[in-house]
């Protein structure tokens, strides 16, 4: 297993064991005399580094090469129609770099040039239109930070604690600053007179790839905050995220964020496509299924310590940190429990939560080798409190696959290693 799961323990041994024994001997070798990294002239302090054009588009330094997306091969039949996971255990702040933001493809990530890009608006509109990519850049545009979470995030944990890493249990999420044109602007350009009363109207959105991945969105949402985005975190979308244009549907399940967006059709009802009937519907205990479960409810998880990010620095000051988000709006509060939910304390939010975007939280604490059952619990501006797995199962059973926003538990042992567990 080993690179990923044993690596931390090896590091824990090499770096951490001495520190634990010595009681957090800060500054490396200070306990055994002067630190040669300080007293001796190091090569990097004497020689020269790379010139400015060594990497015209830079990648993270090699020492960070374990901060990558990872796949769970047994989940799907073929990586072309599959998903991988954001290394949230190794990221900080809230913005996800595009290069390690999770991917989900149904027919692979296609290459579509801006010059070959077309967006059609048709259906119940006054003027069916075709836009080029260049056209899109001439409409007034906006910038917003939003999280995108796959409906199946944490879906493998319904029946029990299964995957030993927050990357795998909660990594079907990313959070980027998008630049794009509000969908309502484009709909207005095509004219919605023909649509009549908006109350029973929908838009059907589909992608240019072979999967089509069409989804039906109620007109109310389409005219609210949906964005036709062409940049993320200041640069062009990556191929794997729908270059050159994807749909951003804030707070709603990632499957609706259609990549390589090619068509928006105004309709008088939902299409009931494959992705909104056979998939992305939630089977309840009695066998009936919920459909149109678009909103991602409030959720949080501790990213460190966690199985892939154990405590390696010995006893003393410890920063517990994690992420919280809600498809209903802003995160207003996150509580942390160290005893599996018996007692809770309020965490510190990195900053006031942005609506439908990741919020970073911290609990600045002390660890003296206690065994912990770490949990986080999010609350959003609607007053919703993130439920436990038991509470979710009481309402939905274990077969929903999607929309598992339960409270996650990490067991931290006396050595500082963490494990995914379920508690009573």
């Amino acid at each position: 297993m080993d690179e990923m799961l044993k690596a931390p323990s090896r590091r824990a041994f090499l770096r951490g064991s001495a520190a634990v024994a010595a009681g957090a001997a800060a500054g490396g070798a200070a306990a055994n005399g002067a630190d040669p990294l300080i007293t001796e002239v190091q090569p990097w302090a004497s020689g020269l580094g790379d010139g400015v054009d060594a990497t015209p588009y830079g990648m993270p330094i090699e020492f960070e090469n374990d901060v990558i997306r990872r796949n769970v091969p047994w989940l799907t039949a073929d990586p072309i129609s599959s998903i991988n996971f954001t290394p949230i255990h190794a990221l900080e702040g809230t913005i996800t770099p595009q290069g390690c933001a999770f991917e989900r493809h149904h027919s692979g990530a296609i290459e579509l040039r801006k010059e070959d890009y077309r967006l059609m608006i048709n259906g119940l509109v006054d003027r069916p239109l075709v836009f080029s990519y260049a056209d899109l850049e001439r409409f007034p545009r906006e910038n917003h930070v939003y999280f995108c979470e796959c409906a199946a995030n944490t879906g493998m944990e319904w029946a029990g604690a299964q995957l030993n890493g927050v990357q795998f249990t909660h990594g079907m999420i990313h959070n980027m600053e998008y630049t794009g044109v509000p969908l309502r602007t484009l709909l207005n350009e095509a004219g919605l007179g023909a649509a009549g009363d908006f109350a029973d109207k929908w838009v059907y959105v589909e992608g240019a790839d072979a999967s089509s991945n069409g989804r039906s969105i109620p007109m109310e949402k389409a005219l609210d905050d949906v964005l036709v985005a062409f940049k993320a975190n200041g640069e062009a979308l990556r191929k794997e995220h729908g270059y050159p244009v994807r749909l951003v549907v804030p707070g709603w399940e990632g499957n609706m964020w259609v990549k390589w967006l090619r068509r928006v059709e105004v309709m008088d009802g939902p299409v009931e496509s494959r992705e909104e009937t056979s998939k992305y519907t939630d089977v309840l205990e009695d066998g009936t299924a919920r459909k149109w479960t678009w909103v991602m409810d409030a959720k949080s998880v501790i990213t460190s310590p966690s199985p892939q990010s154990p405590i390696t620095h010995g006893h003393g000051p410890l920063v517990i940190t994690g992420l919280a988000w809600s498809g209903h709006g802003k995160i207003t509060r996150v509580d942390v429990s160290k005893d599996g939910g018996i007692t809770w304390e309020k965490a510190r939010l990195g900053k006031q939560g942005d609506s439908k975007a990741l919020t970073r939280f911290y609990l600045d604490t002390e660890w003296l080798g206690e065994q912990w059952l770490l949990q986080a619990r999010a609350m959003d501006e609607t007053g919703y409190i993130q439920p436990t797995k038991h509470q979710l199962r009481e309402v939905r059973g274990e077969n929903s696959i999607y929309h598992n926003n339960c409270i996650q538990t990490w067991y931290v042992n006396a050595e500082g290693m963490a494990e995914n567990v379920e508690v009573s």
């Binding site: 769970v72 072309i80 493998m156 059709e265 089977v283 066998g287 009573s424």
Partner: protein, 422 residues
Amino acid sequence: MSKSLNTIYIPAIGGAALVIGLAYGLANRDYAKDKIQRLEDRVAQVETHATTHAETATGLRAQLAQVEAEAAEAVALAMSASLTEPAPKPEGTYGLGRQALPEEIAAWDVDIRPDGTGLPPGRGDVWTGDEVFADYCAACHGDFAEGVDNWPVLAGGFDTLADKDPVKTVGSYWPYLSTVWDYVHRSMPFGGAQTLTDDEVYAIVAYILYSNDLVDDDFELSHENFAEVAMYNTDGFIVDDRAETEYPIWSGEPCMENCKDRVEITMRASILDVTPADGEDQAAAGHSMSDQQEEVVIMASTTAQDAAAPMAAALDPALVASGEKVFRKCASCHMVGDGAKNRSGPHLTGIMGRTQGSIDGFSYSGGFQTAANEGRVWDEEAMAAFLTKPKSYMAGTKMSFAGLRNEKDIDAIIAYLRSFDG
């Protein structure tokens, strides 16, 4: 912005005469200005009157500082409100884009509605579908739409939606036939989307219906009778009701202390050990997000052919050969012949004349366990009845096979199975 704030802050904190010189455009920006002025005047008055009032002055200063801070905040808010606005909502249009031509709309607007709106004229029957399906679909979905490896199972799974691991197929789960036609037409086959003719799509959909027992083998699907096909699970869905069933329960003031009596670990991910490791294709079993079903392994057809060599003399070679062909429908799950092993179905070597449910190491359904205890035997009559309609002969059987409708096929299969008898 910082400049403007300083204009307010500095003189106030200094306690000197207030100079709020900037005339702000928005009413918000004047927030608390009067209040500041009044407090400032009061501070000055108190200071000039008596040192005994020093305490009062200090208190007032603190009050002043607070009000000023609020004012600064309000100004900041107002400033940001004026500068950051959503993209303008246009009165008219921008005149961007061009008209979509009718032939362009026709090329891309191919979605099919639940009532069949959008279907092109065309038709295809079950037996044509059988052939087309074998060519384009069976590699992943299995000859009988039972699914290979993790690929989607399209047939069977009836009455499993309330089970621990529901088998969600076109038959057991999909509410609308339009979705099947739309998806096959738009996105299948995998790697060759939009290469099927409309008639081929009709035929494939007809075959999928047949494999789910929804139509007979002489059925032909067309744009004309499309709306008449009834799906099993059309009424199996409810619209998202979380706002009524969940949000009211999971809200309010959260518990902070003594929320439980005790806590125990009830399950550990490390026991299951299915977490993938880097640089390793770890194929581990487990519950998955992709509704994966029990593993179905395709038996190499050569095994059956090789093993077929020592044929029993009493059997009609033509019938056996015919049975070998029909057996391809079974071969996804069953092995037969020398060295045959249990797969998702038990091996069938020597099955005729054997006690039902008696192969060691195979996990039988309850019905077959009972049959084994009762000593029921696979004779021709039993086998023919089972193969005609497995679920009628043996309620609860795990065999997700609709059955053979042709008596000749059943005779042929039995002859073929007999050809492996010692």
